[in-house]
Every structure is written in C-alpha cells, then in structure tokens.
Symmetry: C2
Subunit: 168 residues, 2 copies
Amino acid sequence: MAEAGREVAARVVLQQCLYAKLQVKPPDRDSEAEWVEIKRGMVVYVCFFKGAENAIIPKMVTSLLNVKLSETDTGKYVSIKDLPGDVLVVPQATLGGKTKGRCMQYHSNAGKEQGMELYAQFIVQCQQELGAHPTWTEAGAVLHHGTYGNRQVLQLNTNGPYTHLLEF
Amino acid sequence: MAEAGREVAARVVLQQCLYAKLQVKPPDRDSEAEWVEIKRGMVVYVCFFKGAENAIIPKMVTSLLNVKLSETDTGKYVSIKDLPGDVLVVPQATLGGKTKGRCMQYHSNAGKEQGMELYAQFIVQCQQELGAHPTWTEAGAVLHHGTYGNRQVLQLNTNGPYTHLLEF
C-alpha cells in the first residue's frame, strides 16, 4: 500500500500535453470568450487547503518546475524548464473535495480570498523561476494560467497525460 | 489543512468531459493505431498500489459510479449513471509516483501482473454496475477503457474538467 499521508496544504495534479487550450474569460453579452493556449508542455491543476501559508509556495514551485516528468524527443525525462516546455496553471478547487455519501464536500479548501491570494503568488513565483532559466526563456516558452473562480473550460491533447499527484 | 491520510490501496482521478479519445493499440508495421471514443461523460484514471486486494474493487466501483460529479443541462450534479454519461477508464500507473529529489519513483505501485488483474476486475465490475442501471443502458451510454501497460495517448475536450481525487 502507499505510505500514509499527513496534513496537506496544497494538492497538485500534473498532466503532460502536446497542446492545451483554456478559457480565461467566459463569453458575455458584449464580448466573446477569451482563451489561452499552450503547445507541448505541462498542465498544473492546483488546489490550496485551509491553513496553507505563502511559505509553502517556493517549495511547490521549485518541486513542480524541476521534477523530471517531461519527455524529450529521444524519450528521456527532464524538467519542464529543461524540456523546455510551456506551462498552463489551472486553479482547480475541486481537487480538495472529499466524498460524504454520494456527495462531494469541500470543507478543507482554502477560503476564496486566501485561495485567490495563494494562487496569485503561485503564478508570480512560477513565472519568476521560469524567467530565471535561460534554457526556458530563450526557447520562447510561455506560462499561461486560468482565472481563479471561473469554470475552467479546457481542451487537452496528449501523447500520454502521464498524470501525477503531488501534495505539499 | 486537509485531513491526514492513511494506507491507500488505489488512487483515482476523475475528470468530466464532453468528448475524449484514447489510443488502445499503437500503430505498428501492419496496422494503424486503434482508438476508442466517448462523448459526454467521465474519464477515470486509476492506479493500484502494492497490497491492494480484489475486495477493494466493489467499493471503488460503487463510489465512482454513484458520486454526484456530473453536471446536467440544468446545472444539477448527478452520478455518471444518472446523467447518464459515457465512461472512459484509463490505467495510469504514474498516479502512484512519489518524488525523490527531482526524480519520480513508483515503488508503491502494484506489480504488473497484480495491477493487470485488478484493472481487469475493475473494468468488469464497472460494466456490471452500469449494465444493471436501466437509465444508463437505455440511453445507449458506453464504457471504454485503455490497454493496461500501454502509453495512454489521450485527447480531452471539457466544459470544465472538474478534477477530483479519490483514494481507497
């Protein structure tokens, strides 16, 4: 069996992609929906729990951007920074859900304001870490992210999502 | 923070979709790749750990197929059985990974033979539970699944993946 868990401040699911497209603004009366797109890279679904502090973020960012989960053309696994590949961060509060009977409850999730602040910090620090890595910046790779609190309308095209769970 | 964990026999990630397409046989010299497709429904990524027993499967199947995570046209959440929606099961051993430094290790995963047997049983019991639910069968909904051990080349189109983690 897997090792027993512990208090968790943040939960992240990673999927590798060849292409992904995410709605960042829904359509309204006056304007069409807005989308962001990434090419080959990694989708980072992130959820913060109650009690999570800003201090957790540098550790998350370092871990997620340096873990070797991205496959090169020769089948070697390297970090997303070294691939170098695009990054799409998707706020995904549903990852904090726990079943109660047939329903899902989200009582452990960070509150809206706290979650929004942690998410904003997470994006800033991801951008800083990627921006400081010449291999990544010189390749013209991009970081895009979804809008906290919105429905995350997503399309994904993979050569194997290679789904991983990381908790912090 | 989220509640501390415990021994885990299986880990499942669920995503809702409008459409999904999965390769079930890679191309070879003599034939093209084979794919399965689902329409509106749920993608079930599943990973078994060492020590998991067949006895866990009925509980998993009941929980996954009855939890209310699928959105109707009127915005109500119902089970995939009641939606009724298609189901795509994707074996995803990577979900058992744990970071060690910058690398990912899979020491807790079920061995290949045991994993394959559990996966096969899981599919059979999902099909039985869905097949016994007239709302699901009469709508012509389908269950498809990936090939254990293969690369899971996947395309996904969502109206929000609404990603959930369930552990058993």
